[in-house]
């Protein structure tokens, strides 16, 4: 059974509670020629269960490897991207990003709190992270082509 971890902003748990999360998405997990060019986007936000209260910071990092990413590599990429942020929060990803491994296994691999997306607001933040990582990667590819 997965545990639920959150950084509480307000003391009240029943009314107007807000949580700090960092939604992370990685684009480009497919081979291009002889390598993988990935972009990891992390969105730090304060959320309520049903809406995003505020996006605090967005951080993007690119990674290039010769072999297909496995879970350990994905965890490392997320850790590096999140470590550059000035905000703390529970790292949230889609289960597919972690190859659908049970949440408790992935949680044990992270030094910070981790969980899969569940609520409406977490899914919205994931959507933002997805658009950011995808756009950033497209931009990067275009720059590399023209450069």
């Amino acid at each position: 059974m997965g545990k639920v971890v959150y950084t509480y902003i307000s003391y009240s748990i029943f009314l107007d509670e807000m949580f700090n999360i960092i939604a992370v998405d990685i684009s480009g997990r497919h081979r291009i020629e002889d390598h993988y060019l990935m972009v990891c986007a992390a969105v730090a936000a304060s959320v309520n269960p049903d809406h995003v209260e505020k996006v605090n910071q967005i951080n993007i990092r690119s990674f290039r490897t010769d072999r297909a990413p496995d879970v350990q590599m994905v965890v490392k990429m997320i850790e590096e991207t999140v470590s550059e942020m000035h905000f703390e929060g529970t790292v949230v990803t889609e289960p597919g990003d972690m190859y659908n491994r049970p949440q408790w296994i992935i949680d044990s691999m992270f030094p910070m709190d981790f969980k899969y997306e569940e609520s409406l607001s977490e899914r919205r933040c994931m959507e933002i992270a997805h658009h950011v990582s995808l756009s950033a990667r497209k931009f990067l590819l275009r720059e590399l082509d023209t450069g």
């Binding site: 959150y6 748990i13 009314l15 269960p49 049903d50 049970p102 569940e118 409406l120």
Partner: protein
């Protein structure tokens, strides 16, 4: 009563607890469709391309079918056309999967023309990708030779496509009528409140309790298939409350599409009452809430959600608080209610009132005349009159929507 054998293939490394819950849900679904479960078969294995479960397990299942003679074998896992064909051949019994079972429930309960069309659409959309394979398998014996019967397969698939397009058109027309009704209600100042939640959470019982109705409410999955709307007075404000069809885990996207017009009641609402059965274990509630969030998240925009912890009478105060605490991140604006005993209904109405679209407050001074009195009577009908003071003029404390306030603007205090 019809008899059924339930079969579930579990993924290796999947959680036992989750598998048990899914099997229990399949039992409940079978019960809702009128089946008595006579046996259950499970296997932990990666999917088999030919049979979904392993060949040895299929032999075991075939023996079980010979022993207990069920009407159907129901799989939890989605089956391909070829798997259905192979399994039916070996077991000598009709084999269906969970989605066909849900369609069966919907088909037996569909009463209105619209819901019958929706069920038909869902069935056809489910069948379309398999249409060519079905004909190919059925006509296997008749193939005359090279390229034989290719035309048959294509024409059947085309028939299905044509029928889908006809039903879509018809449903679109119905939806247009419903949209205009919804807009009319909005323009008349009615706020829309929709009840959403996992199937069998107690939505219909709560609906009956709130609007004093007697719609069918049973301890069964998918009792409600046709949305019903009734008016409800919430501290002076008239709202329209809609009872809707419940969600279920892994509801396939084609089914969500087919029932989009039903789900639109939720997506166009001002407030969504997210009903949960608080009598269930914490992990079960969490799983069901997650399904609700997953189903709604893409369509809901700027809507207030009030989480109703129904069946609160089944728990002690400490247990209830523990559930609310544990689910705080999935349950916005929680209210504990018992639809059966009526406790918490007042608090729920107060919470609905708090989230209704804001109306403006104005002080209006109407002339003390016949015309003024008739205007006051009109204001009672269109807004919330908080106080009336009769002096040289009729002084009214009014709360109303913008369109009403603009009409009484000449009488407002400058």
């Amino acid at each position: 009563m019809k008899r059924a054998i339930l079969v579930k293939r579990n993924d290796p490394r999947s959680e036992d607890h989750k598998n048990e819950l899914q099997m229990t849900e399949l039992e409940e679904l079978a019960g809702s469709a009128g089946y008595t479960v006579v046996a259950e078969v499970t296997q932990t294995k990666h999917p088999d391309r030919k049979y979904q479960i392993g060949r040895g397990k299929v032999e075991e299942l075939a023996q079980l079918v010979r022993d207990v003679n069920p009407d159907k074998v129901i799989f939890h896992n989605q089956l391909s056309t070829m798997q259905v064909y192979n399994l039916s051949g070996i077991c000598r019994c009709e084999v269906i999967d969970k989605f066909q079972l849900i369609l069966e429930i919907f088909a037996t309960r569909a009463t209105t023309h619209r819901s019958k069309l929706q069920v038909e659409l869902a069935r056809l959309e489910y069948e379309l990708p398999k249409a060519r394979a079905i004909v190919s398998i059925l006509k296997k014996e008749e193939r005359p030779g090279f390229m034989g019967l290719g035309g048959y397969e294509d024409s059947y698939a085309q028939d299905v496509k044509n029928r889908i397009s006809r039903i879509r058109d018809e449903l679109k027309n119905m939806e247009r009528d419903r949209d205009s009704l919804r807009n009319f209600r909005h323009s008349r100042g009615f706020s829309l409140v929709a009840m959403a939640g996992y199937t069998n959470a107690g939505k219909s019982t709560l609906f009956n309790s709130l609007v004093d109705e007697s719609r069918p409410a049973r301890d069964m999955l998918f009792t409600t298939l046709v949305p019903a709307t009734r008016s409800l007075n919430v501290a002076g404000r008239e709202v329209l409350l809609t009872d809707t069809v419940g969600f279920i885990e892994e509801l396939p996207h084609w089914m969500v599409d087919a029932f989009r017009s039903t789900l639109n009641e939720i997506f166009f609402a001002d407030i969504v009452l997210l009903v949960v059965d608080s009598g269930e274990p914490l992990e079960t509630i969490r799983r069901k809430l997650r399904v609700c969030h997953e189903t709604m998240w893409e369509q809901l925009q700027d809507v207030s959600i009030v989480t109703v912890f129904n069946k609160a009478d089944l728990l002690t105060r400490e247990e209830l608080e523990a559930r609310m605490l544990g689910l705080g991140y999935l349950a916005p604006n929680p209210v504990a209610v018992s639809a059966i005993t009526g406790s918490g209904i007042h608090e729920l109405k107060r919470e609905i009132r708090r989230h209704l679209p804001k109306w403006d407050f104005v002080k209006v001074s109407l002339p003390l005349s016949e015309e003024g009195m008739s205007m006051l009577s009109w204001l009672f009908g269109e807004g919330v009159v908080h106080s009336v003071d009769y002096s040289d003029t009729i002084d009214v404390d009014l709360e109303a929507r913008e369109s009403i306030i603009s009409k009484v603007r000449p009488f407002t205090d400058k």
